[in-house]
Symmetry: C2
Subunit: 284 residues, 2 copies
């Protein structure tokens, strides 16, 4: 019987457990989470078969999913390199950036342990095992970062999650981090800066800030997310984020200059280009 160990039973880890279990009842799922309430809930729901310590779960597993924040994943990879893991084990993770993690994972690859970086791009503002869902990943991108030797590892992860209906994306770590930098990290920076800057201005008027248009609410919605998580992300994708911030500033400067110079044709071109490119991601 195949054993899967999931470390971190929050929304992502618990959703993986549900998917693997629903795909194949024969897989034994071991779980570990420092918050006991998560594990106990999943045991009661029969989504996890047994709660273990990190070390004993890891040592008895055929596949290991590390489902914590990036800094925890990095520590755990280092710990895994000291444990007596099964010879054919496949280790993967769900961290939201990949270059740092792939670099730390050399410790495993040096010992001939297969590591495939992973990132299911799903989630919400909710946390904890109770907010996990078996349909959390449907249609979402699930990035895998294989190395040349890892093809068998990729196949095993994809087989375990064949029920999850994800959109598998095999990319390099750099390509992944560039994609999430532009599609997620930069937007968080920009939305937060806009929320701060604009709402400070509005608080200096007599008008109630709650009267702002719906467009403002959309544009700044993600600024309400957890600052702890986002501080960690800035740290783990620093180089790419700074490069993309420079590109953003270059574009913004072009528009600002056109506004200053009353260059209507250039302003129009800018908005028209933005409209065109934004329409390419319309989902309808």
């Amino acid at each position: 019987m195949e054993s899967v160990f999931i470390s971190g039973l929050g929304m992502i880890g618990s959703s993986l457990a549900r998917n693997i279990k629903q795909g194949n009842q024969q897989v034994k799922i071991l779980g570990y989470d420092p918050e006991l309430v998560n594990g106990e809930f999943l045991i009661s729901e029969h989504d996890v078969d047994q709660l273990t310590s990190f070390a004993s779960g890891a040592e008895s597993a055929d596949v290991i999913f590390l489902c914590g924040p990036v800094d925890v994943i990095k520590q755990q990879i280092t710990e895994l390199a000291t444990l007596n893991l099964k010879k054919d084990v496949v280790v993967t993770d769900v961290g939201s950036t990949k270059q740092e993690i792939m670099s730390v994972a050399h410790q495993l690859r040096d010992k001939q342990i297969t590591f495939v970086g992973g990132h299911p791009m799903a989630g919400s503002h909710l946390t904890g095992a109770r907010s996990g869902r078996s349909d959390l990943f449907v249609g979402a991108a699930y990035f895998l970062i294989p190395t040349s030797a890892d093809n068998a590892g990729v196949v095993r992860i994809q087989r375990l999650l064949s029920n999850a209906n994800v959109n598998w994306q095999l990319v390099t770590a750099k390509e992944h981090d560039s994609f999430v930098g532009a599609g997620s990290h930069l937007p968080h920076i920009i939305a937060s800066t806009l929320a701060l800057s604009a709402l400070k201005t509005i608080d200096n008027t007599t008008v109630d800030a709650k009267l702002v248009a719906g467009g403002f609410c959309d544009t700044t919605r993600i600024a309400a997310a957890d600052p702890d998580m986002w501080t960690a992300i800035m740290d783990s994708n620093r180089e790419i984020i700074l490069e993309q911030l420079n590109q953003f500033n270059d574009e913004l400067k072009k528009l600002k200059t056109a506004i200053e110079q009353k260059n209507k044709a250039q302003i129009h071109d800018f908005f028209s280009d933005a409209q065109k490119i934004r329409k390419t991601i319309d989902r309808r």
Copy 2:
């Protein structure tokens, strides 16, 4: 019988017509729109009683609503100053910026004609008379810019629209333009710049841009709006927009420096302040 003349029978003008008519069937509504289809539709719906030329509608009205884009409103105010208007007429508009319009409207005030600037902050990406609705303004801010002599004008406009359930906001033109600058114009600039900059980066990866997270779609949604309208707005609120762009750049620079210097405490404070201030406009 009171006569109301509405110039511009698109979404805003036609919604005003519906509201005024539903509030009081005795009010006679005259309408003008260069696109005949708008007027004909409203006649067939009995929301407008009669289509006229601009001049004859204006000269027979007790209250005049100018419901075009800002540049058209400015031209029409100049034209109104040459016409033989009723002595007690109240002129108002729905332009999305107010300082320029209030300044052009001196031509009317010099002739003892009452002008009250207005801006119902409602709308959508739809246009035209068929997209107007009698409930378009419910709960929305409706700004009025009175001058010291205009109290009677304010009362007449509010009485005509007593059925619309708007949130009346009496403010100065500068305060209005500052509010919409921060709550609408700056967000449009930022969302457009983000869409351009981030999607150019993503188009350079092998990952399909449609896989970006929902947060990106929210943050850039308004970038898909009409470039014509937004080019005109940049022109009509230039000073305030440039000032607010500088404030945005100052905030962004603070965060960028903190990321460069790996100053986690400062990055965390930034996101935490943004989260706090963003939560003040939550509507639930």
